[in-house]
């Protein structure tokens, strides 16, 4: 495979962006769910 020096950083960046956004959104959502459940017990699933 030629041009690997350009292909590998491209795929690495894509994985970084997708995992970074997904992980931050997931942790933020879980934190908000826990805080809401603590503030308002009726909101527990």
């Amino acid at each position: 495979m030629n041009h690997l020096a350009y292909i590998v950083p491209s795929y690495a960046l894509a994985v970084l962006v997708l995992i970074g956004f997904s992980a931050s959104a997931w942790t933020r959502m879980r934190r908000a769910q826990r805080r809401l459940a603590a503030v308002d017990p009726r909101s527990r699933p």
Binding site: M1, H3, S22, A25, A32, D40, S43, P45
Partner: protein, 258 residues
Amino acid sequence: MFMVVDATTALGPRKTRSLHRFANPGRFLRVSGRVLPSLAGAALVLTVAGLVWGLFYAPADWQQGDAVRIMYIHVPSAWLGSAGYMAVAVCSVLSLVWRHPLADLAAVEIGPVGAGFTALCLATGSLWGKPMWGAWWVWDARLTSMLVLFFLYLGHIALVRAFDDPQRGYRAGAILALVGVVDLPIIKFSVQWWNTLHQPDSITLTGSPTMYAGMLWPLLVCALGFTFAFAAIVTARLRAAVMERRIRALLMARAQEA
């Protein structure tokens, strides 16, 4: 006693009520909670399948060689950068015209994700441009209009957070988003209006694609996977934002009661 009132309870006419039915934060949390796992699962499967297909199994280009594999990231991120900004603009209209309760939050949460995908498009475009054009960057109409889109996203992100009163920030951000939407047709038609180094579109809504099917299919799978990922990320962020707003409202209500 202070009550946390749902936005839908204050609405009168039946038509308005039916429109705002979809904007009820409680309903949004219920529906999105059911949809999100499927959305995230589909995003994971399609994105991994598309990237593996594009990287290892799709054919190399007879002129560009293996550098064409960057297309499987570059093109979907470009589409989502533009589509994300269009979504911010639609939310801005819903916010300014109908005072849609979720539209402001949606615009705020889409902004950083759209900026991330636009940055990914610019970075991968640069990594593709160097071996093909011999330059990391050229002030080509397509590249420049895409860079302007990235700055519009950054401006929107900064502006909505620049006011002490969030409502003023949302309004200013909505106006900026609507002004900036003029950049989207410029991005789309830049390769037709000007002589650009960037190649013309290989896939259009009206014509048949000018791309070999062995490259088209992994590209479409990647685009679908990236789209589901974008939707899942925005949905999760929006769920968090709705819950954070509810927490603030409950804590303020308690503070006023005390």
